[in-house]
């Protein structure tokens, strides 16, 4: 954390925190990605690590599943699975074996990635720079548009695939022509439908990214209260304020990350459900 109290220090602090660990085609000065061939190593690392954690825990649990009376952790996992399959049953018409695991993956993975936001903002970057000598580290994968867009584009690909599979190429194209205003407004229909279809992945990705990015930013600002404004006796006022604000935002954000994971999951189910219905 930068100790200087001038505006430049504050901006630099925030900028520093919002810069990914970039490898490949990066700008040498700002460390931002300069071209397409730049890889955000921290984003990939944390998301894959959380994915591996998910799989390792489920694999470990799968070694001794109890059919009769499950123990605590299995109970918890069963609760989540029941919740997700309940959501799928409620909102998804018909049956498709890929939907429920997809929804489960999205819900749990997004929640875990969002949860990284609740780790104190300076903790992991400080460890990274102090122990490992890594200068830039952005720990929340969902504050990287690449992550959210990657998921929403995968979902979008599934939407396209099932639209064409269920309705046929002709049926899907016909939807563009005659929806939503009937056959006398074909040009308008095409524009509207294209926008509607493209809005699905974009809104999914941007909603999650925006919420988490904003949340991260607020955490950074709260961290700045104690860090840059508290010098000498002022710390007596600013430090407790920072603690209270941080706790408040933490509790609120716990709600937000769950809600965002839930929304991403439900919208995925709904969009895929729309792709599965013949009549629009």
């Amino acid at each position: 954390m930068s100790g200087s109290s001038d505006g430049g220090g504050t901006v630099a602090y925030i900028q520093h925190h919002l810069t990914n660990l970039c490898v490949g085609d990066c700008d040498p000065v700002t460390h931002k990605a300069a071209g397409f061939w730049a890889l955000h190593l921290d984003t990939v690392f944390f998301s894959v690590a959380l994915g591996v954690l998910m799989i390792a825990v489920s694999w470990r649990m799968g070694q001794n599943l109890a059919t009769g009376t499950p123990n605590g952790f299995q109970n918890f996992v069963e609760m989540i699975i029941d919740f997700v399959s309940g959501q799928v049953k409620d909102t998804f018409p018909g049956h498709n074996p890929i939907i429920a695991p997809l929804a489960l993956t999205i819900f749990v993975w997004v929640w875990l990635m969002n949860f990284m936001d609740l780790i104190p903002v300076d903790l992991l970057p400080a460890i990274a720079s102090g122990v490992l000598g890594i200068e830039y580290l952005k720990v929340v994968p969902t504050t990287d548009l690449n992550t959210t867009l990657a998921m929403s584009l995968t979902v979008f690909a599934l939407i396209l695939y099932y639209n064409i599979k269920i309705k046929g190429v002709g049926g899907y194209l016909k939807m563009f022509l005659f929806h939503p205003f009937g056959k006398f407004f074909v040009p308008v229909n095409i524009v509207m439908s294209v926008i509607e279809e493209l809005a699905k992945p974009l809104s999914l990705a941007l909603r999650l990214f925006g919420n988490l990015f904003a949340g991260e930013l607020v955490f950074l600002l709260i961290a700045l209260i104690g860090g840059t404004m508290a010098v000498g006796l002022g710390a007596l006022i600013w430090f407790p304020l920072q603690v209270v604000l941080d706790l408040g935002w933490l509790i609120f954000h716990l709600l937000v990350i769950t809600l965002q994971a839930f929304i991403f999951m439900v919208l995925t189910i709904v969009y895929l459900g729309m792709a599965h219905t013949e009549e629009h």
């Binding site: 990939v44 998910m54 489920s58 995968t154």
Partner: protein, 156 residues
């Protein structure tokens, strides 16, 4: 916007994770939950069946009990009837037997009386003959006075 090759890396990560979740988490858990659901449903069905069977057998037991009671009552009534019959029969038999015995005894008595009369009559005749002989001083020839004797005897 900061879109770069990370996007592709994340897509690959997401799809791989999806595959793993489906294989390691979803399918086993889903099978497990389905198996448990089936077990619970089976258990409940078995419980229902058991309850039903209990009701049925209770009903059957009650029916058996009622039947047995009525049978017992019938048997008792029959036995009473039969007992009365036996008593009546025995009474009847006793009565006829008694009557028979009485008639037999009466006949015997009559016979005995007649015989005694006969004997008496004979003795009286002989006594009379002896008496008459003593009176007449000579022997009364019973053969000679046979007609007289018979007449005498019949008069006694």
């Amino acid at each position: 916007m900061n879109i770069n090759v990370t996007l592709i890396a994340q897509i690959i990560a997401f799809v791989t994770l999806l595959w793993f979740v489906n294989r390691v988490l979803w399918n086993p858990m889903n099978d497990l939950l389905a198996a448990r659901q089936k077990r619970i449903a089976d258990g409940l069905a078995a419980a229902d069946k058991g309850k039903h069977e209990l009701e049925m057998s209770e009903k059957r037991a009650k029916e058996h009990l009622i039947e047995a009671k009525s049978q017992a009552a019938e048997i008792m009534a029959q036995a009473e009837k039969r007992g009365n019959e036996i008593v009546e029969e025995a009474k009847e038999k006793a009565r006829t037997e008694g009557d028979r015995l009485i008639t037999g005894a009466k006949a015997e008595i009559d016979q005995e009386v007649n015989r005694a009369k006969e004997q008496l009559r004979g003795q009286v005749a002989s006594v009379a003959a002896a008496g008459a002989g003593r009176i007449l001083g000579r022997e009364v020839d019973e053969k000679a006075h046979d007609d007289l004797m018979k007449d005498l005897v019949s008069q006694i």
